[in-house]
Amino acid sequence: MSMHTYDSAEAAAQPPAEATSAPREGSLLLWRVASVVLFCLLWEVAGRIPINVAFPPFSDVALAFGRMVADGSLPAALLNTLEPLVIGVVTATVVGIIMGVAMGLREELEWAGVPVFVVMQAAPMAALIPLITFIYGIGLVAKVLAVVILALPVIALNSYKAVRNASPSLRAMSRSFLGSKWQEITKIILPEASPMIFTGLRLGISAGFVGVVLAELLITPTGIGDLITYHRSVADYAEMYAVIATIILLAAVTVGLLERVEVALFRPEKRESAE
């Protein structure tokens, strides 16, 4: 088994080149707007043909979106979904960074932990979600667990890699000036590892969204999952599409914002990639 099943080819695929090499922000925005308009136009046309009875045009979906915002069902569902998402991501982040850093610092922990996390990242962990339901019931705990098992591996592995890549010469320098192990960790290793840890966080949040949506569709639906399944069951397709589009856009916007923060704080184009 190759350790590359966990891969930074995936991390390297984001952030997109635009974030770092766009010569003019204005023209880039123009292209994005044009792209969105084109997409909506195609959707509208496809919906009106119609290519399928169950495929409403963009305008219907937009109206449905408006209705659900107005009557509060959509915002309420979002908040409902955000609860396990945030709790899960925070847990996964704290646990993941600690475990990752520990694995980076101690060889035995690396040996014991990394293969497990690599397997967790490559394997379809979704298969475990129904099991989680039966053990932990259908409440918040089950959903938080679903988020955690999907987000934890990528955060831990990124933290581990980041620590392993910390410059040996800087660490040696710290020791030569009689720095303690604790100082070495907090003053050299962690600052140097921060960019990659942050990347792990971004990927973890992305995975967290996947986890919570999956959980809500598989476990008892509440929140967004509930809205989707409900509207599907009463054949309110426009509403269903609106909710789905909302959650996907929310995930995209969140991850996009994190990319901007990442570039602004850590300037990833300037740091060496791990592979």
């Binding site: 190759s2 792209s35 099991l131 053990i135 999956l214 599907r232 789905i244």
Partner: protein, 251 residues
């Protein structure tokens, strides 16, 4: 890691965990985890059951069909985005969006458009895999050394010759890396698709085992699926290693 001077390979740690699992199971610490040896013993039973064979067939067929379509769509898309700035500006946003989006949310849509059968599973696999394939292909294309393209031009290469003999070859390491990641995502897709449709294939099986708390069968099935995911990814890795010799030498 070394113990008493002997180097222990990383994979051995999985054996170590299997041992822990065995101990935990035997001590009946957590009902969730029966002894590992019992799970292994059940492997044969699960593999030979007719429900499993049906599910396995469905899974394999859908997976390979879906992956093939994803490659046939994703590589050209990536080539297009890599070579045309306009295409890149128009499409790049969407590809990047879908690469990290919770695609499971789209499965209900696929279900109402394609029904509750195999077609949905195939489309799900394609949807999960295609974006990363396109993105990595694009990255590979953009990384092709300009010098090689100019060289081909200087010897009179047509556009098609340049595309096939230079661009595709130079981008091949990234394309294969994208396919490997597409394989991993595709397996997730084939499992999630069946779980969400739930009346067919693996979804049916998992439901059966979990509802009846047949933990040994459940874990045996899980192991089989995990092994499949890792095995498929490893196969692509083998291909990647064969062209590794020039991946680093391109610049």
């Amino acid at each position: 890691m070394t113990i008493a001077g002997y180097r222990i390979p990383p994979l051995a740690s999985l054996l170590f965990w299997a041992l822990i699992w065995e101990i935990v199971g035997r001590l009946h610490l957590v009902f969730l985890f029966p002894p590992f040896s019992h799970v292994v013993a059940e492997l044969g039973q699960v593999l030979t059951s007719s429900t499993f064979r049906g599910a396995a067939l469905l899974t394999l067929e859908s997976f390979f069909a879906g992956l093939a379509i994803a490659i046939l769509l994703g590589v050209p898309l990536g080539l297009l985005m890599g070579m045309s700035r306009t295409a890149d500006r128009l499409l790049g946003m969407w590809v990047n969006l879908f690469v990290s989006a919770p695609l499971s949310a789209l499965v209900p849509v696929i279900m109402i458009l394609f029904g509750m059968g195999q077609a949905t599973i195939i489309v799900t696999v394609t949807m999960f895999a295609v974006w990363i394939i396109a993105l990595d292909t694009r990255a590979g294309v953009r990384d092709v050394p300009a010098s090689l393209i100019i060289m081909a031009r200087s010897f009179g290469a047509t556009r098609r010759q340049t595309l096939v003999k230079i661009v595709l070859m130079a981008a091949l390491p990234e394309i294969l890396a994208g396919i490997r990641l597409g394989v991993i995502r595709g397996v997730k897709g084939v499992v999630i698709g069946q779980l969400l449709v739930s009346i067919i294939g693996l979804g049916e099986l998992f439901e059966l085992y979990s509802r009846n708390f047949l933990m040994e069968e459940f874990w045996a099935l899980t192991l089989i699926i995990f092994a499949f995911a890792l095995g498929a990814a490893e196969l692509v890795s083998v291909l990647e290693r064969r062209i590794d010799f020039y991946a680093g030498a391109r610049h």
